[in-house]
């Protein structure tokens, strides 16, 4: 299984994301934002970082990069796409996921191990979890406050589009403790916390993040 990891100018966690793919048993494929080439990958990860220095809005300029046009088209055909942190911001800016990420309510960068509750264990990226499972993975952001109009939040909740919620404290003031959401078909997932930093005991608070990368391998086989 070929899992692409996109590098934008200012991406930071692309190497960790590729390592997570490899540890899960997939083949990581490096993708470059300026190429119109998805290199026949089966799924794509948009990693964390500060693409374009968060200029204009976090993720705004990266969302208009050449490769993102191909990602949007492939997502329309059902290809699994995961956006982590800055990658989540890019997916919202690209219109693949609803809502937006704004400045943390307390204005501080927040970096800590975070408890999440898995609300949807049937997306392409979460099928190796159980509904209601609590996982611990790092969160690190300054602009991670998930917002949308109240009517849109009601609709998302009604459609079961909230995949993860913060537990044990909301790190950034996100509406309704939302940490991650999914597309209507459950193939595109975005979240602010970092599963790729929780894949080995030596370097992470847990290995709870590995399930994202094992899940997608099954989702690709099933498709």
């Amino acid at each position: 299984m070929r899992i692409g990891v996109i590098t934008f100018p200012g991406s930071l966690d692309d190497v960790d994301a590729a390592r997570a793919v490899r540890l899960a048993g997939g083949e990581p494929v490096a993708l470059w934002h300026a190429d119109h080439d998805l290199k026949d990958v089966d799924a794509v990860v948009l990693p964390g970082g500060f693409s374009y220095g968060d200029y204009l809005r976090a993720g705004a300029i990266a969302a208009r990069s050449p490769l993102m046009a191909d990602v949007v088209a492939a997502a329309g055909d059902g290809m699994p796409v995961l956006g982590i942190c800055n990658g989540f911001q890019v997916l919202c800016e690209a219109g693949l996921l609803p809502g937006a990420l704004t400045r943390n309510s307390h204005l501080h960068f927040r970096n800590r191990d975070q408890v999440l509750v898995v609300e949807r264990a049937d997306t392409a990226w979460t099928q190796d979890y159980r509904p209601g499972q609590r996982i611990v993975i790092p969160v690190k952001n300054g602009e991670g406050r998930y917002v949308a109009a109240d009517a849109d939040l009601d609709r998302l909740e009604g459609e079961g589009r909230v995949v993860f919620r913060y537990a044990g404290g909301n790190p950034n003031g996100s509406s309704r403790d939302i940490a991650g959401v999914t597309s209507e078909n459950g193939r595109v997932v975005g979240l602010m916390p970092h599963p790729e930093h929780a894949i080995e005991d030596l370097t992470g608070p847990s290995t709870d993040g590995l399930g994202f990368f094992t899940s997608v391998l099954k989702a690709v086989v099933a498709a």
Binding site: R57, A100, R103, V147, D150, G173
Partner: protein, 79 residues
């Protein structure tokens, strides 16, 4: 060349912690008459020829502002 100005500000229902921090500083400086601060962005575009309003509206609404969270105002030069 003509000068086109685009102002972007968070929608009223989206909380603006940066504006609130500025308001707090103003209070500490004794400027008690200021009741609210909303922080936004101000873009100045130099455009060749006569500005095409439809094109500029598209630029403002699809790139300079995120309509999910922001309102945008386009100011075209008066002739």
């Amino acid at each position: 060349m003509s000068r086109v100005v685009v102002d972007v500000v968070l929608k009223p229902e989206i909380s603006d912690p940066q504006g609130q921090a500025v308001l707090g500083a103003l209070g500490r400086l004794g400027h008690d008459s200021v009741r609210s601060v909303r922080q936004g962005k101000h873009f100045v575009l130099e455009v060749e020829g006569t500005p095409d309003e439809a094109e500029l509206k598209q630029i403002a609404e699809t790139l300079l502002a995120n309509p999910v969270i922001e309102d945008v105002e386009l100011h075209l030069p008066k002739d």
